[in-house]
Symmetry: C2
């Protein structure tokens, strides 16, 4: 067993330093982003690390390959953070790490600076205390995760050999909720599109022209209303094609998860939950695709017939759905709605991502479950599915042939992307102990990773 | 016959002075508004005129009652103007009257400074050349027409005796199109409302919450889609209640109006016109109510379930519809749409206005038709209906028991409310000659107004 600090003082001091670098990928200058990248670089002094150009903000890569014959893992994370949003909403300045009530508060502390720090501290202590890691480790920390990783795919595909690994372990992500340890075994895919409806060549006076020309808002709401049934189910023909029915085992697993609908409802401030009938809330959240109108806009002025209306839509996809097939189904549906007098355009965004799964009996899940069980004795490890989308998983599977294990000690309720983002301090040493266990278990014994790639 | 100037030089010089006062009721200071009011006051030196407080921008009122036994008319207009909008879009500065191609260009020149100037010049010439007017004339020029006349109703109702008249003649309004002289015999009413749909207490991550809570945009489009049938007809039960069927005479009158659908369509840039089936475009425009979604908004960000969505709607009403009845029908329809998990609010704006009509055989229409025929020999005077709403007509009918004749020499294509607003110079002397004829005809002979009020 590695020996970690008896208290959190050094960890908090070092995280304070890291969080103080405002590495907001959306708008920080190169110098600021390099400060954060160099901060990581300094901690990878044992790993032949360097800063590499990707076409956008640089990435930090490295490797320690001193365990020949042992499996190789790629540790992934990011050093960029979200914008602060309205500074007025922050209790304390976002880049000055605050300690209170067992929590660290600051932009990026839980997404993803703290979780990356935990992983790095563990590998550093292996080197410091044992002179070696139990397996080979590669590192990839990007600086553009919060802006959609626009250069990551090309970089990883171009340098696949340098990242070759038997498993990717992501220090990004979050446990589902704070009440028990959990691992994600599935995440949904994502398909985004815009529907634009254009009528006349300008906004028209609703009195002087009313009754003679089509109103694009009327046409758009006709199109959008047909996307769902009144019961909340998705009504686009072919949208569900390929989705296997919920299996008995899956159903039993989900049914076994304690989920307090009343608390959930109250927390969201709604009178009732809503969605496709015949399924439980958790079944819908974890196993069903969504087609969500994220935004709608058109007109606005007092008495015009607007000349344009538009909606932005994203679909969260589940295993069995292919983004192209879903896009075709939506396109066909929209084209079939009769809307005389207007022009309708459907534009699908590039970069659609299918759903991702890792088998519950994958050695990585088995090892991670055991590692978490040892840190949280007496608590069952929940195998959760997440409704969010993790494009990197699909990329790593495609480029490296490796599954991704999410092993972050962030928790989904820690105000990620919002003002007053925080990380529970207890997660620091819990996370380090768990990472230590995970790496040892993947290297040897019952849950040893099969080193298929070398 | 009065003698008018042989050319337009003096008229243009005086209008240049009047247009130069930037009396934008939306945001001008009191001093500027008073400059415009005083400019009118000076031209009413024969009419016992004064500036009166209304609670907002002042009004200019006056009267010349030197024709005992003759009918009395109230001449209405306004001295305020619309904001300029984007100055970049103006060919010449908006408050510097420009003369080019037979047009005067400047903010307010056709709405309503030019048309009011025409009326005033005629009554001034009656006094100057004949020492008297052929009938009694009262004047009411307000300074808040372009902001919805918020204080006009109360003022007119409180001072009804001072405005008592057998007919109101409005120098505001516009002829339907430049191709022939026209008079309005009907205008539509107006009812405005907002529908707001609220779901959760905040925007939610569409992955982390998708499939569990209602999306207010989904609910709103369900509600809005049912407002119209796919064929463009209004589908709200009870909306049409009280509207008489189109009579044979009315149908024949409308059918007799030359209307080039292709030119109209091309001018609007649409492939086809659209509206309730079974009616011609002009029948729909002139005789059918509308229910127009003027604006819609909700969400916007990339992958959220928005927590709020809203639409602004206005209805143009026709004779037979009462705003309260239509509001009740819409409210009932909206309440009947099942939208679980969200809260729906329908808010009707105050100040709804029913439709207005003046009988085609009213003496004012007869006199105005003859006056126009004499100025435009050989051209039939079109009896047009307008899709727009003229709240003052309803006010004058209610407060004074008098019908309103629109007798403006503005034309609807002269970019009212838009950049580069203009007035055709030829309308100045045509308008003066027509006003002279109208006042004489209303005072004596076949089309004499019955002086019911005195």
């Amino acid at each position: 067993m590695l020996s970690f600090e008896p208290d959190d003082d050094r960890y908090i001091a070092e995280l304070t330093e890291y969080v103080a670098i405002p590495s907001v990928s959306l708008d920080a200058d190169r110098e600021t982003m390099l400060l954060a990248a160099n901060w990581l670089l300094a901690r990878l002094d044992f790993a032949d690390a360097r800063i590499v150009e990707t076409g956008g903000h640089p990435a930090v890569i490295g490797e320690w390959m001193g365990a020949p014959g042992a499996p190789t893992v790629l540790i992934y994370g990011h050093y960029d953070v979200q914008p602060t949003g309205d500074l007025q909403e922050w209790i304390t300045p976002p880049f000055a790490l605050a300690v209170a009530d067992g929590r660290l508060r600051g932009r990026g502390v839980t997404d993803d600076k703290g979780p990356v720090y935990i992983a790095l501290e563990v590998v550093r202590q292996f080197i410091a205390q044992e002179g070696a890691l139990p397996l080979n480790v590669r590192f990839l920390f990007e600086g553009e995760e919060e802006i959609g990783s626009p250069h990551l795919s090309a970089y990883v595909l171009d340098h696949a050999a340098e990242f070759a690994a038997d498993l990717v372990i992501s220090a990004d992500g979050a446990m589902w909720r704070p009440s028990e340890p959990s691992l994600s075994v599935a995440s949904k895919g994502l398909l985004a599109l815009d529907i634009e409806v254009v009528g006349a060549n300008r906004d028209l006076h609703s009195g002087r022209y009313g009754g003679t020309v089509a109103n694009p808002v009327h046409a758009l709401v006709q199109i959008l209303a047909g996307l769902h049934g009144a019961d909340g189910s998705i009504a686009v023909p072919g949208f569900d094609d390929g989705i296997p029915p919920l299996g008995d085992v899956e159903e039993a697993e989900i049914a076994a998860v304690a989920f307090d609908e009343d608390a959930y409802r109250t927390e969201l401030g709604v009178d009732e939950l809503f969605g496709q009938p015949g399924l439980t809330t958790l079944q819908r959240l974890w196993t069903r695709p969504t087609l969500e109108i994220n935004g709608i806009t058109g007109g606005g002025s007092y008495t015009v017939i607007p000349h344009r209306a538009a909606a932005h839509i994203t679909c969260r996809l589940v295993p069995g759905q292919h983004p192209d097939g879903v896009a075709a189904a939506i396109d066909e549906y929209v084209r079939a709605v009769p809307v005389p007098g207007v022009r309708v355009t459907v534009t699908f965004e590039k970069g659609a991502v299918p759903a991702y799964t890792i088998a519950p009996d994958h050695p990585a899940i088995a090892a991670a479950t055991q590692a978490l069980s040892e840190v949280y004795p007496g608590q069952a490890v929940l195998l959760a599915r997440i409704g969010g989308t993790l494009p990197a998983t699909v990329l790593f599977e495609e480029a490296l042939g490796a599954k991704t294990l999410f092993f972050s000690f962030s928790t989904a309720d820690e105000l990620l992307h919002a003002p007053n983002e925080f990380l529970r301090i207890s997660r620091l040493r819990e996370g380090m102990r768990a990472w230590e266990g995970l790496l040892r278990l993947l290297a040897a014994g019952e849950h040893r990773l099969a080193p298929v790639l070398r």
